[in-house]
């Protein structure tokens, strides 16, 4: 039996003025699926992500999150989101635990005090990204890779049905990439969550992906990594392989 789609785009298009960013995109991500979305710079990945998250409204087509239109979705906390670290200001005077606990705010009810279940979920998320020992450390004093893991833990803390990550491992060290991979696999295998990962660097998760979607305004490829490898691109061989191939894609 096919798992229900937790994210779906049906003929979605979006333009910035006269400049089309996304054109007639169809895609689905099912529960328990681990999917990577790749494309060269300016290919519309981040725009598609914002459309799928309900942050933008498509010019044409429809988007469904957990079977509902973004506007009708009530339990939005079921979406975990890890934004690009460079767009965040982690200069906030807050500890790792405070930032991760903030990931529970929407699920708990934003006016309620954290309870036992919240503390347990935060502990679990911190352990999943191997940051339990650093929970009292200010986030501003962590390395880039550690900060990225804080953001992942914050998303994991709400125990999401679907986790969407935007360039989460750009420029982080090898050890953080390994821990990052472990936490995503844990989420998919133990919580049956869906993961949609936008990244140029898939080496760390190449063997765990169910599907790869390649886009350049439109979807150019949607299938298992093995099929993509048959075109001559090996996701796990060299970190530069995929970006180079993506930049050479036909317009």
């Amino acid at each position: 039996m096919t798992s229900p789609a937790v994210l779906a785009a049906h003929g979605v298009s979006y333009s910035y003025g006269d400049e089309p960013a996304v054109e007639r995109v169809d895609l689905t991500v099912a529960a328990g699926e681990f999917v990577a979305l790749v494309g060269p710079n300016g290919s519309g990945k981040s725009t598609l992500l914002r459309l799928l998250l309900g942050l933008l409204t498509p010019d044409a087509g429809t988007v469904e999150i957990l079977g509902q239109s973004p506007r009708d979705l009530r339990d939005r906390w079921r979406i975990g989101y890890v934004p690009q670290r460079r767009i965040l200001d982690l200069d906030v005077p807050a500890t790792v635990a405070e930032v991760v606990t903030s990931g529970r705010t929407a699920r708990r009810g934003w006016w309620r005090l954290p309870g036992k279940a919240d503390r347990a979920a935060v502990d679990h998320a911190l352990e999943a990204v191997a940051l339990a020992d650093l929970r009292r450390r200010p986030v501003g004093r962590l390395s880039g890779g550690q900060q990225q893991r804080v953001l992942i833990a914050r998303a994991l803390a709400c125990e999401p049905s679907v986790l969407v990550l935007d360039e989460p491992i750009a420029g982080v060290d090898v050890e953080s990439q390994r821990l990052f991979r472990d936490s995503l696999v844990h989420l998919v295998e133990h919580h049956d969550s869906a993961v949609l990962l936008v990244s140029h660097e898939l080496g760390a998760v190449a063997n765990d992906l169910d599907r790869v979607i390649v886009m350049k305004r439109r979807v150019l490829f949607d299938g298992p990594p093995d099929e993509l490898a048959s075109t001559g691109v090996n996701l796990g061989v060299h970190a530069d392989d995929l970006p180079r191939w993506l930049e050479e894609l036909a317009p």
Binding site: T105, R107, W111, V172
Partner: protein
């Protein structure tokens, strides 16, 4: 000098406080000052994180116009100031959130519009507009029990709002987009923060004046960020420093016959400068004699972080 009056004044007058707070008027000043000294940084900690440190200043200028309107209409200026400040704060937030204009431009627009409207309205009020001066620079030593009562009520409202909505506001100031994705009402949260800022400005008008209130929202927070590593700790330290600045500022004002509003702010600035110097010296990492080489697996990567420093955290 207005002597303490009513039930609040009687209660305060019986407090056996030592110098410089043994007099009724100083006790009223202390009560009002402590409320503002604690509340202003509690709001400021969110504003500073949102890069809206000058929000208090902009709203202060709007409140100035509201005070002038109150004097002209001969109604209690605090209510007209409250109305204009809250409406103006919501308008600033609306402009900012819709990207119609940048944050600093939105603030500048209201900043100058507010002060100009205040000057024009005050010029039409009686007394040549002199009655507006206490609201510009504060007049905490002439505050009466009814002023203190209003300030205490507003202060309780501000603390209650932070206790109830502070966690949601924290999620928003850390990462607005993720908060929006998770379903936290970001627009309502930002509007609430704007309204709380307006309420704080109005409550503080008689304490430090509309021209200096932003300093009490920002300086204790700047100090708290140096001293504390957690958000909760920053809030607590900032509020404590705000309260200390009020006590020390009032004492200095009494001792040397200084302007109390300015004295309070100067104490807050002095604490910040001292803590920054000491804290900055302590936190500065030792400079290596030779650059530490990066491990081979990190070469060629750039995450904008100094990896020579990373390994000390693991």
């Amino acid at each position: 000098m207005i002597v303490a009056n009513g039930a609040l004044g009687s209660v305060l007058a019986t407090l056996p406080l030592p110098w410089p707070f043994e007099r009724d008027y100083m006790q009223l000043a202390l009560a009002a000052g402590l409320v503002i000294g604690i509340c202003a940084p509690l709001i400021g900690v969110f504003l500073v994180q949102q890069r809206l440190s000058l929000m208090g200043d902009g709203i202060g200028h709007l409140a100035f116009a509201g005070v002038a309107a109150g004097l002209l209409l001969e109604v209690w200026p605090i209510w007209t100031a409250m109305l204009v400040a809250v409406v103006g704060a919501l308008a600033i937030e609306w402009l900012r959130s819709r990207g119609r204009t940048t944050s600093d431009l939105a603030l500048a627009l209201w900043f100058y519009g507010g002060i100009a409207a205040g000057v024009v309205l005050a010029s039409r009020a009686g007394n040549g507009g002199l009655a507006i001066v206490p609201y510009l620079f504060g007049s905490i030593l002439t505050i009466d029990a009814s002023d203190v009562r209003v300030i205490v009520i507003l202060g309780i409202g501000i603390v209650a709002a932070i206790a109830l909505f502070g966690r949601a506001l924290f999620a928003i100031v850390v990462d607005e987009e993720s908060a929006r994705v998770a379903g936290i009402p970001v627009g309502a949260g930002n509007a609430l923060l704007a309204v709380l800022t307006a309420v704080t400005v109005v409550a503080a008008m008689r304490v430090v004046g509309v021209l200096l209130i932003a300093a009490l929202m920002v300086l204790p927070v700047a100090t708290g960020r140096v001293v504390s590593h957690s958000f909760r700790g920053t809030m607590a330290v900032s509020a404590a420093i705000g309260a200390f600045a009020v006590v020390a500022g009032l004492a200095a004002a009494r001792q040397w016959a200084l302007a109390p509003g300015g004295s309070i702010v100067l104490v807050a600035a002095f604490v910040f400068a001292t803590v920054s110097l000491v804290g900055g010296r302590r936190k500065r990492p030792p400079t290596p004699v030779m650059p530490v080489p990066r491990p081979p697996d990190e070469l060629g990567r750039d995450d904008g972080h100094d990896h020579t420093h990373d390994h000390t955290h693991e």
